[in-house]
Structure formats: structure tokens, C-alpha cells
Symmetry: D2
Subunit: 398 residues, 4 copies
């Protein structure tokens, strides 16, 4: 790599790393240590784990603290034993300061190695991966903090206010697409996760796609029509969840004095009917589609439609206002593309081993770092997940 | 329908119904009432539920006993409240005799209605569906009885002996298929479940398919190589199951004095290395494929390969000997075909509402009634299921 | 032992054993194999386990079937591995007929040994214990069958009718007792369980005891006053159970069209307000006492009051009509008397190892075999148990 | 109350309150917010709840923050809804600073009220109770912090070092006590919890009591003899716990390179065989007694023996060195003394509603505030609890 390229990479490295810390800045040390549920992780853990990733796969040492290998490995079996996921929130030690010192130490060593030209192409590719990895955790920091604060009795704010320009949802309309033999997936060149490749052909029948994602007005209509109480609208597993969990609305919604409020990182406010619906499980997305005589698109249908990739705002907005601000559930189970090859070694665990019982989401959200998502980007979560920024766009057969 | 056609349908009705009872004949009333796990049902319940199906959807009354609507509904929300699935085994009453009386009563009324020409075409189609439904439960009776007897301390026999011609597995070889735009799914005419339709086109890259299913020899090789202890071979969820459940071999296998035995409905006997492997979860099928540098085929790849549809024996054999004697896991999540339309009314719950977090299996098994399966037939189970007759056939990219 | 004494013992042995079988006679094989909850056991298991007891501790062999040692051991760690308690209901094999054959075989060998004078005094004492043990299981057969049938949707009958003479409860009145240094426990001679000994002195303050057990009229009053919804009346654990289990009345009660019914082994019938209350947990007994400004007696208070020991009817009545027909919860935790010595060997596990987190009940019930209970008899169950014939008699300080 | 008495009470109030804060001083905000298990509470919660107690029951207002009534009620049903116990650790807000402000506000108002003579005798009695209540929570802060730090992978220290004078355990010897009619319980005058009253007579047979608590040497002997693997030594419930939880030693013990270490708030160090054994469940205490042919004393036996009441050190030592430094399990179930009267109103929930399925412990510990415990003091925990400072002293019959 040329010195200029290395300098540019070091600059990007610093920018990405700094943003992670900036996201945590409004949080107290208390906010950063607690784990609100097994699916979520404490912010301090995210700060440390992303650093662990660079230390493990780029620097390939454990110079700062040998114990951190055990503490901050997420799920890499090939990297050995680790703290059980549901117990990440018990780590009051090391304290936050020490995690910041860890970040500083690793950052200095990475930047020095870049400056020295000490990293081979393979390692540079992993460094690139590490930046995308850190961006994924930036989104998770926001979703996990939202869960932590949004489920507390006081509904405390992450930020005192958010930018909220007025928004008006156009009526739900349909766009026709021709289908045919189309290509999806990431091209061979440029950065992409292994699960986006290889680019390949798929045969699609003609179909229609909604011109915008579902908005809260339609969710309110579904609620008012008893959608959460009508088994016929639901997948069998979804109906089980509705009853077991007592779902009556999307996550973070609560009814007070006859009005629906939701929590949006500034606290509770009235549901805006024109905003894209968010915090829907796949089960809800599917039931809503059935209610509106529609279906969910496949990920290939979604990708060929060249839809907006989020986030839509130049700065952080933290609440969805338009297409691109919510991930959109697809009907596609998360699975390997024909000819899929996972990365070599421990990094092969990055994506491939989760290809079971998850659904693909496309598009990005208002929590997604700018420049992170791509048309071929495959996000994936289990059908019951609701704490991510998950919405839906309907499809219909031609 | 002509009188001859009606007579023929009545004959088929009686044949199918009689076989269900014949399958239960070797069982004591005690064997027929107990539920060995929530996924399995007692044989008495199967006898009654299949009858409930005809009574509900063909006769459309509850003339025999009004309470049976509650007792023997399986999962049809549109048909109202019902006994919780995990509590089916608590129904010592009604006694088995009364369930037989229920069968007799419904049979007589169905056959009379046929003879009178009292059933319209719509109802006749449902009667046809009911026969296929009953055949599905015939297979379930065998899998559920196998679980009940095979997990008891005494490993008691369902039958004293089974036909067991010698079998020799050919070496694992690969057959190349061209792919291209192919058609899969059931044609518009003739009986098929709603989930097999519509027949539609799929684009497949060229691929290879194993010339036979995996056999026990290969499973023994996997075990000997530590496959059940090597996280790198497993899907993340699969590895969780291996540890949580202590899996060390397929279901019904046990090691005694250094040898592997399995339970095969006659009791325990030594594992035959040349038989198709059976009672594999999807997780095991997937890990075995990874171990052998292969993958699982998609259901489209499977269907276009025109493989054997089971069972292979003219009479009941109850243990797999060849291709067609085990269901084969595919890599395809169970989902709707493009343009899928569920049946109208309560029968729309037959298949569609399970299209989440299940995998498709193809081919049939030695427990499948003869004539029941088809090339387009889509069986489906969750990835952790092991009590069905589930094996696997490997695929590879071309 | 003299021949006459041996003959008398053989006669008693046959009488006790025959009654167990008579209790099961109204039940189908299906009824006798199912386990309705982990605390209850199938009737077939009771038939076999009581036989196992004689075979193990009197005959000291395993001549009938070596596998039965594993199948029918209840909890004797010293006797080796055994079927997990919650899985007793999976044993469809051995079939009921074979369990009857087991009973016949053991009976013949026991009676022959008695006739031959082959049993030493130690073994004869164990034989005596075995008869009392079998009587305990006779009561359990009835409570467990009541749970099995009484929780089924059809509320089927164990017997078509029961003797039901009219009963009128006298008003709740109080009897004063002087307390002082009193003796409780079984005398050194005569049969008693180890936990009833040694007889010892206890110092009691003067106290008052209700002249009869609580009756349903008072339970109805408690319900009507919102007792099941008022946390202040309950022990902390009890209140947790009320909410977790949704208790609104004693077990087997259900409200239909504004009236309270209960299940009494003949089916559902209207609650009789004058009958002793039954199927109360300790938590309910304690909350009822608090509601009526009373408390539960200690077991010493209960024993010195010389209260009726049940059952009260000459023949089986199977539903409580008077004092002696319900076990009465005491406030005493089940613990060792001063100087308690468990039996030697495996039989030391009979009582002592359960002396934690259980409460003592006194008196006997309408399900208790005649002649089985004694004034010093200590029955014991966990506080949440409701499927036994459990009522309560209030006490007050003097 | 005289002005001098009020000034003295204010001084004591300030001293107790200050010590709570001093105990938390070595902890970071992160340490003070996390809840390591449902039985333990975060230090911040203890700081707030003890303040809530004074605000609720002494000041009888909610002037500082109306929401704190919901957040910091522990279990007083009469005081309304509250945060579920297991979710106390999710409260990252209010932050620690605000809890300190809450403490300051309530302290100022309490002290002012005292200075003004504004509190009646009833309220002053509750204020006294509040001080004892706060001392109980001081011990819980230490036990809960020990659990939080002692179960973390890094075994971090609460304090860098502790005073550790050498200790030598005398051989286990026995002291004979005459029994007879004895009096136990708190006298009518002076402070005591309601559960210590009324003082009353009990009849005791003569008995023997060990001259010191069990020490680690004896626990090591038990471990070496296979005590944790021998079912015959255990209560049935205890044996279940041993297997379910994999107990092989007391809590906080771990084997490293053949040696036993434990965690003692400074980190890991080698087990000292001469120290009193600690962190034993009741089950372990009972099994150890059986192993050494002894039994646990009743609480009356314990009380009349006039044993040391802890803690033994003038300053905080935080690890047991002598009798009085560990709570001693008794064989007595926690229940009401004859004539027990709970406090009026919501404070009646303080003790009485827990009188079920708990065992009494006596004596105090090295974590107990000086002057807090009394000879009549009844501590109580469930049999499985191990995170408290729980040891045992053996008894034998005379």
C-alpha cells in the first residue's frame, strides 16, 4: 500500500473509532455497564469488543491485557473460551476508563503499524473488515441503549432533543417491476461481507412493490381492527408470541389516556402516523401484510428495485422519517448464496454460522452509520426480534 | 361424481382408514394413550383427530359427541378452543373403545354420504385432502410410537421382527446436473397440497448431487473424528443444541461396551454401516456436510434430480435400507412459492401458517404410506427435530 | 414368631395388598399409566413400587425381573439408579398385566416365607413397615387419580356415585386447652414411623382450638370478600403463587354460571357449604386463618387436643363430611424430634431426608385407609401442595 | 423526647447513614448499578431504598421525587406497585449522584424534624427501626458486592487488603448444657424486631454444643472424603441442588493446581484451614453435621448457650476469623413465636410474611455492623442461600 493510501486508511480508522466513542459520550458509566436483556450488550462491552477485534485479527497479540481475550470475545469458537453472552452486563470491572485506555493502546498500535507499512494485504483487508464491523456495533450501541433506556420506568432520554422536520406519508401505492433473470449480490471487487457474494442470477416473476414503507397510520389501523387479537392473520409461531408476550402494539409503544405514545431516545412522545413504522418483529410485518392483502418481498425483489439505502439524514436523527430509515424485513430466510465461501479461519464464523432461523432485512436505518450499508447488504435477525430499527415494505404479485 | 367413482372413493376411504387402525393394532391401550414429548402425540389422539378432520370438514357436524370438537382439534384456530398440544397425553378418557366407536360412526356416515351422492365437488376435494391428511398421521403414528418405545428404559418392541434384506452401500459418488431455468412444484391438476403450488420456474446454476443418501458408515467416521465436539463444523444454533442436549450421535443411538446400537422398533441392534443414516437433525445434516466438504441441496435442486420417492419396500419395513427410505433435509427454508394461495377458510391453516423457521425435506421414508409422497411433496420440520425419519443427501457446486 | 402370629400377619398382608388392587379396579389400563403431573404417579407405578418395596427390603432379591429395580425404585439413593420421577408416566411397558403378575409373584413368595417361618424379626418389622407403606400409597392412588381425572376436560368419574349423607356444620366455636408440659410422639412400643419418635416433652402455653375444621361456607366468605386478591392476607411466597398460578379458589373448584362447582370423583357438583374445606395449600390455610383473626395450631397443640383421626366412615366415602376426613395443616415445619434416629440402611431415607421445606399435617382423611393413621402420625407436604385431601383447623392464643 | 435525646438520636442517625455511604465509597458507579443475581441488589438501590424507608415511614411524603415510591419500594404490598426485584439492576437512571442527593434531602428533613421535635413517639420508634433496617442493608451491601465482584472473571478487589491476624482453631470439643424450661426471645423493653417477641418459655432436653463453629479444615476433610458426591449425607432437596448446581465446595471456592482458593473481597487467596467455614448453604451445613455424627442446634439451644454475637473485630475485617464472624444456621424453621404480633400497617410486612420455607440463623458476622445483632436476633434465609456469611456450629444430644 502506498503511504498516501495508508494515511487515508489511518484517517478513516480514526474517524470510525472516534464516532463509536462519540455515540457513548451522552451516557454515564452506569448506562454503559448494564445489559438490559441477553440479546443486547452494554455499551462498554461494545467499546471493548470492537477493540478486541482489531487486536485479535489485525495486531494478533494480547499485549494490553491477556485477560481481555476471554472477556471481550463475542462468539468466535476458534478464539477460545469467553464470557457467556447473557453475563456481559456483570462486568463492572474492568472499569470504563480502562476500556478507554484499551482503545487508545490498540489505536496507537494500529495507526503506527499502518504508518510503518507493517501490515500485509491480507491484514489490511481484515482491518477494512474491522471498520465495517465497528460500524455494525455503532448501530447496535444505539439499539441496545434504546432498549436499556426505553424499558426503564422513567423513560430517560439519551439526548435532550432530536431534529424532527415535519413528514407527510404519501398514500400507499404500487410500482410494477418486470422480474426476469436478474443479478443480485455484491460484485467481486470492493468491500462487502462474505455473505453478499458471489453475485449471481435469480429468476423473478413480475411483481409489484409498495412505493414506501409501512407507516404508523397503517399500524394504528391494524390495531384498531383488532389485528393483534385475530389468530387468522398470524403465522403460528407469531400468534404464540403475541399471546405469550402480550403484544398489543410495536415495541416501545404504550397507551396512555387513550393515545399511543412511543419512546424515541428523547423520551415518550405521541406516535406520528406519517412516520415509517418501526420496531416490528417479522411476525408483525407478516401479519400486517396479510391484513393489507399483501406479502413481504423476497430479498432479490428488494435488491433489484433499487430502493433507498439509509440513513436518509446528513446528521444523526435517531428516529425514522423516510424510506431508508428503517430496515425492511424480507420474506427470505438468511441462507448461503450459491457458491458462498466464508472467510478463512476464525473470521469464517463472522456470518456463515448464523444461516439458520433468521430472516434477511434490507436497506439500512436512521441508526446505520452513513456509508455503511449497500444495495447488496444483508442484515439478519430472528423473526421475534423487535429492538432493532425494523420496518417493512409490502409486495404483491403482478 | 359417477356412482362408480363414488364407489371407488369409498373403497379408498375404507382402505386408508383401515390402515391407520392396523398400525395401532400391535399397541396396547396403554401404549396408545401416553405422550412421550410435546412434539409427539398419542396414537389414540391420532385415531381421533383424523376422524375429527372428516367430521369437521366433510360432515360438518358434531353428531357423535359435541365435546370432541374441543378434544381433537389440532391447531385450527378458526375451529375454536382446543386441548393444549402438550396435554394431549392426559386424555385417558374418552377410552380407546370410544374412539374406535367414533371412527366407526364417522366412517359409516361418510360412506353413506358418498353412496347417496350427497357430497358436492368442494366437499369431495376436502375428503380427498382428508385421506392424504390421514396418511400423514399414519407416518406420525409410527414416528411417535418409535419415540415412545425407543426412549423407554426397556426399549420394548413394536413388532417382534422386521424384514431385513442385506444391504451394501456403494461408495459416495457425484452426479452432475446442468441447472438452468427449471420448473418445480405440482401441476395445476391432480391432488397436491396447497404448499406445492403453483408450479413455477427457478434458475439453478449447474451442481452436483450425491448418488445416494449419507449412510451410517459416514456418521461413524464423523463421530470417530470428533465431529460432535468440534464447534467449527456447526451452525451456531446447532452447536448450542449439541452442548445443551449432550448430543454424541443421532437419536436412538447408544454406545454399549464400545459398540453403537440403535433402536429400530424391534428393539436394540447393532448399527449397520451400510444403511442410510436416519434421525439426524438439520444441524447434524449440515455439520456432516461441512465435514465432508459438501453442502445440502436446495429443494429445487432436489426436485429436478428426479430422485427416488419412498418408501422402497412393497410392504412395511420400518427401517431404512435405501434411498427413498429417509426424508432428506434440504437447505431450503420452508416458504411460500411465488403466487402461493392457501386453501379457503379454516383449511387455509393447513400449511401456510407454519412457513417460518422450518426446513423442507424431500423424498419420503420407510414410514411413509405407499403412494402418499410425490416429487413435488414438501415435508417440513424445525432444524432441531430428530424423531422423524430424517437423513440427508449431499450436494456440491459444479 | 408363632405360626398363629405368622398366619395373622399373612392375612393382614393379603388384605392390604388386595385393597390396593381393589382401588385400581374401576380404572382402565389407560387411566393407570398416565402421569398427570410430576408430583403424582400413575396407578400402575404405585402397584409396582409397593411390590418393589417388599421385594427389595423383605425378599431382598430381584427374582421376578432384574430390570424392575431400576423401574420402580422411588427415591432410595442407596438402592441405585432409577427412572426420573417426572418420567414415571412414560412407562407403557411393562404392561399392567405384567405388573399384576409381579404382584402375584412377590405375594406368593412373601406368604410362603411367612408360612415357612423364614423371616427374622428384623425382616418382619420391615414387612410391617411395608404394609403401612402400601397404605400410604393407597391414599396416593386416590389423590393421584383424582388429579388425573379431575383435571381432564370431561371431568370423568372414578365411581358413578358416592354415599352422601346430609351434613350440617355447627358454627365455628372455640375450645380452651391448658397447655403446660405435654408429651407428644409415638410411644416406644407398637408400630410407628421413625419420624414420630421419640416421644418427648414440649412446653405449650394455653391456647384455643376450633371445634371443627374450616368448612366451605367460610371459604366462600373469603372468596366473596376478595381474599384471593388481597396481598395483605398472604405469606410472601403464597401471594407469589396466587398470582403465578391464578388461584381464585381451592383446587378442583370452578365457577359456572355464577355458582361454584367442584370435582369429587363422581364428576362435578355444587359446592356444599357445610363440608370441611379441602384441597387447600398451606398458603391458603394460612391466609384463611389471618382473614378470620386466627392462626394455625402447632403439631403439638394438635396432638394433645385428642382430635378425631380419620377416616370417619366405615366404608369408602371419598369426599370429606366431617373432622377426620381432611388432613389438617399445622404451623409446624416438618423436622426431627429431639433424639430422632432414622432407620438403618436404605430405609433411613424413608422420612428423614425430607425434613426441609415441608409442613406437618395431622389427622387423616377420607382417603386414608382405616386403621392407618394415629394421633402421633405426621403427614407432610410442601406449602404449595393442593392435590392432597388438605384442610385446616384454626387455633388462637388463649 | 428531650432535646438531648433528640440530639443523640440525630447523631446516631447521621452515623448510621454515613457508614452506608462509606461502605459504598470504594465502589465505582458501575459497581453500584449492576445486579449480579435476583437475590442480590445493586449498592445504589440499597442507598436509595434505605432512604425510601425513612421518607415513607418517617416523613410520610414523597417530596423529593414522586417516582421514587415506585422505584425503591422493596416488597411492601401496602405501599403499592414497585420495580420487580430481578429488574433492580436495570435502573441506570436515576444516576448515583441523584440518589446521593435524595439521601441528602431526606437526611436534612429527618434531622430538622428531630431538631424541631416534630416527630411523635410512634414515628420515633419507626425512625429507630429505620436505623436497624439500614444496618441490615449495610450487611447486604457487603454480601451483594462480594457476589458481584467474586463471581466476575477477574475476581477484582473491593479493598486492596484486609487485616488478617493469624488464627488457630482449637480442636472440636463439646460443651454440655442442661436444658430444662428456658426463656428465649427479646424482653418487652428495648429495641428488637417484632419477630423476636414475645419472650417465652421453651422446654429443652439436655444437649451438647460445639465449642466453636465449623472451620475450613473440617470442610476440606468432608470434600476429601467425597462428601459432595455421597447422596446418603444429604437432605433430598440438598442432593438435588448439589447435582443441579454442580456444588463441589462452598461458594467462592475454586480449585487451582490442586489447591483450594477462595475469594475474600481482596481477591483470591488460599483457603485457611483454621478460619470458620463460611458461605455454606443450610443443605451443606446439614450434610456436614451428618458426616461428623452431629446435628444442627435449634435456635433455642443456640440462644440459651450465650454464644458470641458478632462481629468480633473493632474495625471492619470482612473475613471471618472467630466465632461471631459467621452467622450460624440452626435447625429451626423461621416461624412465629407463640403470641407473635406483627407491627401495624405496612410495616407488618417487615418480617411476618416471610415465615415459610426459611431457616433461622443466629449470631452475626464479620459483615454485621457493630452493635446491630443481639442474642435474640433472628436472621433467616432459604436453605439454598450461600452468598451470605453463613457458617454452622454443631450440636449433639446429651
Amino acid at each position: 500500500m502506498s503511504a498516501a493510501a495508508a494515511a487515508e486508511l489511518a484517517r478513516r480508522y480514526r474517524t470510525v473509532r472516534a464516532r463509536t466513542e462519540a455515540l457513548c459520550a451522552p451516557l454515564s458509566p452506569e448506562d454503559q455497564v448494564v445489559q438490559s436483556m441477553p440479546d443486547a450488550s452494554p455499551a462498554k462491552w461494545h467499546l471493548a469488543h470492537t477493540t478486541w477485534f482489531f487486536e485479535t485479527f489485525v495486531l494478533a497479540d494480547r499485549a494490553f491485557d491477556p485477560g481481555f481475550g476471554f472477556l471481550f470475545n463475542s462468539y468466535y469458537e476458534a478464539e477460545g473460551a469467553r464470557v457467556e453472552r447473557a453475563r456481559r452486563g456483570l462486568l463492572t470491572r474492568p472499569p470504563l476508563d480502562r476500556v478507554h485506555a484499551y482503545r487508545g493502546d490498540v489505536d496507537e498500535r494500529v495507526v503506527n503499524a499502518l504508518a510503518r507499512g507493517a501490515l500485509g494485504d491480507d491484514v489490511l483487508a481484515v482491518l477494512e473488515l474491522g471498520l465495517h464491523h465497528e460500524q455494525q456495533h455503532q448501530e447496535l450501541i444505539l439499539t441496545d441503549v434504546k432498549h436499556l433506556l426505553g424499558t426503564q420506568p422513567l423513560s430517560p432520554a439519551y439526548r435532550s432533543h432530536l431534529r424532527r422536520e415535519p413528514v407527510t406519508a404519501e398514500p400507499l401505492a404500487w410500482r410494477s417491476l418486470p422480474g426476469g433473470v436478474v443479478s443480485i449480490g455484491a460484485p467481486a471487487q470492493g468491500f462487502a461481507f462474505d455473505n453478499e457474494r458471489p453475485r449471481h442470477q435469480v429468476l423473478l416473476p413480475p411483481f409489484r412493490l409498495a412505493t414506501r414503507p409501512l407507516v404508523n397510520r397503517e399500524v394504528l389501523e391494524f390495531i384498531a381492527a383488532g389485528g393483534y387479537r385475530d389468530a387468522r392473520l398470524w403465522l403460528s409461531e407469531g400468534w404464540h408470541m403475541v399471546r405469550a408476550e402480550g403484544w398489543e402494539a410495536p415495541l416501545y409503544w404504550q397507551r396512555r389516556d387513550g393515545a399511543w405514545l412511543y419512546y424515541d431516545l428523547t423520551g415518550l412522545r405521541t406516535v406520528d402516523p406519517d412516520e415509517p413504522a418501526c420496531h416490528l418483529s417479522y411476525y408483525e410485518a407478516d401479519a400486517l401484510a396479510r391484513f393489507f392483502a399483501a406479502r413481504l418481498p423476497s430479498e432479490a425483489e428488494w435488491e433489484v428495485a433499487e430502493l433507498p439505502i439509509g440513513p436518509t439524514a446528513d446528521e444523526e436523527r435517531l428516529h425514522p422519517r423516510a424510506a431508508g430509515d428503517v430496515w425492511e424485513w424480507t420474506a427470505s430466510a438468511y441462507s448461503a448464496y450459491p457458491g458462498f465461501r466464508p472467510l478463512a479461519g476464525a473470521l469464517g464464523e463472522y456470518n456463515g454460522k448464523f444461516m439458520c432461523n433468521q430472516l434477511v432485512l434490507r436497506g439500512g436505518s436512521c441508526f446505520t452509520p452513513r456509508g455503511h450499508a449497500r444495495p447488496s447488504y444483508r442484515n439478519f435477525f430472528p423473526a421475534a426480534a423487535r429492538w432493532q430499527m425494523t420496518g417493512v415494505r409490502f409486495a404483491r404479485d403482478a
